[in-house]
Symmetry: C2
DNA sequence: CGTTCCGTTGAGGTTGTTCAAGTAATGTGG
DNA sequence: CCACATTACTTGAACAACCTCAACGGAACG
């Protein structure tokens, strides 16, 4: 769990700015070993002698500006990533060019597993705000996994988690109404914020209404109308991309 | 790729009966090392000395009767499985009890990865016909993966494939019309048949219309109407659960 | 400070759902 | 092996949820 104070301000106190608002010194202090990477790289039970190897492998950082892609569908897969600050969306395209948002990654979460099956990325990853990621060369990580059972376990869990998360998303798309989907999405983001040590009630969702709609299988207009409706009912309080959940139970009950 | 002649009749020549139609002797002959397990367990590049270890770990079989569950959501995760004959669906439930079909597994495909993240299964797996699976104890497989890079690679690819498959399914649910979804589904099953050495044009889909609807995010009535429409247009030829694809290109063009 | 992108809201249309009835398959016990 | 019970599939008609098109106000950004 990411509880490092260094990252907290990014999401909570500088909601409109992202990583850019964090002073460079702080940014530098938030090295992988003390921040988001915990989640990917610091399984409990990793021995003192394994840790340095791990850090040697993983700790290269990369900045991605808002709108830029970290990787593109169809390009060779080489690295996994952990979001250090900011947030990204993953998208997938049809033959006919239609694109859909398939995922949202917040600070502390991992990225890039879609490339493992074919050595080519199946999705594109695009920054929703100026962000920074840790680069984890897959080949090196694989080697490490053969040396360390804890590391192997961690990687398996990461993949397993994504499998379950995507299955839940399929369920959501397949059997929930528009209202239910929006509510479930807000609760999901809220829950992930709690996991990462942030507020469950307030957050900045850097996706546009169109991104949300694409992710939730509906149009941007329906997203907007649904959020307005929730607001009228006193369930949430929204001002553009900033969202406060007022009645969490109310959202859960649909 | 599963090309064993022993399995072919199951899907092609005994469409109405499933594994039950195969004589017991044949069934016994179709041991893991020669059949479905290839896909899970016989990565290219596995050395002669690794192979026996592998077989020692994986080759326990289990029969699952139509309608029975191989595992249930919420039960402890211990094994992965490879479908040896027959087919299963995976389902996931909401808090409120609503169930949705989240996957279809044909002979040669793997099953159970949904349990890795939490050591508890997230889905249930239910046989669509009398089926048989190979049991692969996860703990033993993990050990093996640390000894064999090829095995590690294979497991990673399996998980990666499921991640990509589920992302595609999300796309389908999120942005395709009912017609497109049904067509995509038929093409998907057709393609998987080809991969497994069967006919791309003819197959028995043991799911009910309700299962398909649940999987595709629509009602059973819409599935039925859509299939009827495709039939009228000369795209497919259906008689209950048996489906022949007449105009593959036509389906691709929507 | 203008331009572009984003968000909101309304009116009307379409797709897919719901409810209902009837028919075909499947499985079971006699 | 047949008659029956059950489950699965098909089709129709009315309705609702969501989409499309359109117009406008506001925020973000160079």
């Amino acid at each position: 769990m990411l509880t490092s104070a260094a990252l907290t301000p990014i999401a909570v106190h500088y909601p409109g700015r992202g990583a850019a608002a964090m002073p460079p010194a702080t940014r530098h202090a938030a090295r992988c070993s003390t921040c988001a990477m915990r989640h990917l790289c610091m399984p409990q039970g990793m021995s003192a002698e394994e840790l340095p190897k791990l850090e040697a492998v993983i700790c290269t950082a990369r900045a991605v500006r808002r709108g830029e892609s970290l990787y593109r569908a169809g390009t060779p897969f080489e690295n996994l990533y952990a979001v250090r600050s900011g947030s990204l969306k993953t998208t997938m395209a049809h033959r006919d060019g239609r694109e859909q948002v398939t995922g949202l990654r917040l600070a502390g979460e991992s990225l890039g597993l879609d490339g493992i099956s074919n050595d080519v990325h199946a999705c594109s990853a695009i920054a929703l705000e100026d962000s920074s990621v840790c680069i984890v060369p897959y080949a090196a990580l694989k080697r490490l996994c053969r040396e360390s059972g804890a590391m192997q376990e961690r990687l398996h869990k990461l993949m397993g988690e994504q499998i379950v998360r995507e299955a839940s998303q399929m369920m959501m798309l397949g059997s929930l109404s528009a209202d239910e989907r929006v509510a479930a999405f807000l609760l999901d983001v809220s829950g992930r914020n709690v996991q990462r040590g942030y507020s469950s009630a307030e957050f900045n969702l850097r996706m546009t209404r169109e991104d949300m709609g694409s992710y939730l299988g509906m149009t941007l207009e329906t997203v907007s109308r649904t959020l307005s409706k929730f607001q009228k009912r006193g369930l949430i309080d929204t001002r553009g991309k900033f969202i406060r959940i007022v009645d969490l139970e109310g959202l859960r009950d649909l």
